[in-house]
């Protein structure tokens, strides 16, 4: 069965103005997805496999040669950063692509990673935040 994905457990995300903002609550890194990235993200969140993603984008933007390559590269980045994790495909799940805009042209996914919040986790004595994780009960 084709491998599918789900959003990582520590990730919160919102789509605003056609851009996905995702924040990793575990380390404060945050990410922006633009171009066709938000469409890929939405389908991944529904449990799409890489094959289903490619088919959905090719059906929508037919004739673009780089789609398979772009999707593979984006999934690799998302996995490396813990934004998506592999998952068993949900039983009977149907992946539904969002409606396309008229005359919509293909844009390669754009992925940005921002790490400027790490200071808040590790260094900053003014903005104190957790670095300890779940505490262990006293012995």
């Amino acid at each position: 069965m084709a491998e599918s994905f789900r959003i990582g457990p520590e990730i919160v995300h919102e789509t605003v103005d056609g851009e996905v903002i995702a924040i990793d609550l575990d380390n404060g890194s945050y990410y922006s997805l633009a171009g066709s990235g938000p469409l890929v993200w939405e389908l991944l969140a529904q449990g799409a496999s890489e094959t289903e993603l490619r088919e959905a984008l090719e059906a929508r933007f037919g004739g673009v040669e780089t789609i398979a390559e772009d999707i593979a590269a984006l999934i690799q980045q998302l996995q490396e950063n813990g934004l998506v994790v592999e998952a068993e495909p949900a039983e009977g799940a149907v992946v539904v692509a969002p409606a396309s805009g008229e005359g919509e042209a293909y844009e390669a996914p754009r992925f940005e990673r921002y790490t400027d919040m790490k200071d808040y986790f590790l260094l900053d004595p003014i903005h104190e935040v957790d670095t300890a994780g779940w505490p262990r009960p006293a012995a």
């Binding site: 919160v12 924040i23 400027d116």
Partner: protein
Amino acid sequence: MPANPAAAQASGGDIADAYFELLGERFEQAVAAVHGVDPVTNTKRRPAGAGTLDLEMAGLPVRLRYAGDALRANLLSPFEHLAAGFAGDPVLTISAFDTASSGIESPTPLWEPVEAAPGTNPVVRLHSERACVLAAAGSRALTAAEPDAGEAIFHLPDAGAIPPSERAAPIREALQLLMAARGRLMTHAGAVGRDGRGVLLVGRGGSGKSTLALSCALAGMEIVADDYILLEPESLRAHAMQSTAKLTEDSAQRLAVPSAAIDPAGFESTLEGPAKTLVDIRTLAPGTLKRQLEIRALVAPTLRPHTTAHMAVPCGLGEDGPVLWPISAAEGLRAVAPSTIVQSGFGGGSSLAVLADLVRRVPSYALELSPDPAVNAAAVDGLVAELG
């Protein structure tokens, strides 16, 4: 030690509930102690009072209880501008005590303490469905709360030596937890405006929020805060907390801040950048500090030169003046959400949806700062007037 996360969570939950109860008992002991009698030796202690400070904060009746005058003077005084009497019971109550004033220690931790490396302040966090505990290893500030019940207890070793994190944002964790349970999101942003309407100043530490906010106050605009506000999402209102703001020495000089407005502790180093001091907005710009503003836009100050690709909006302030340009809602969200969320003790994830809704409802702008604070304030003032 529990072998799996589920067991750890159950155990942590028990600890949080138990520690909240224990800390509450210690607070009551501290109140009895500072009233003059040591409960152990039955002898008179040093003179120090216990009392309450009733406030209206973010539209809610809030009671701050303290055991020891030093807490009132050094920790809670930045909330005095919100003082208000109310009939009936408070919705939120925060009780604060310190060992130096009362002789009462905090309960022995029920968890394995964490060592803080120099300059860091790791925080142990525990929670159950009912209670939350945050124990800061560096500052040794301790907060336990039952958010749904509207109750929190706060402890410091010595209110005569408040750690920088608490001086800059007193009892921040207690307020964040209790206010979140009442639909108010503690948001990392300043807020300034005119006639009850204004803008949020957003961006991470060091982006120029505080300097811009105080520039606006010195220009006679209304100010709610330089760094943290309580956001009421439905009404888009930004509510005030403490009356103090943080400034670098360079900014204090450029704003010509009088020495009377600068905290006697002077400038304390931070690892995010240059040393900062606290200034009291009530002294710096009398009459400008307000309880709330209705938010009409987000403004992200930037020290970077803008690129010509941006659609610059002329400010009518000449070629050397600041440049203000619209940015996308996503850029506005990137400026306000990450630092708000990483500073949330618990439940930061749900904050992103609230802030996303905010940037969908009001426009976002970037402001390239001029070296002249008055000119920057005029640009913000102009935008507020234009937004109506």
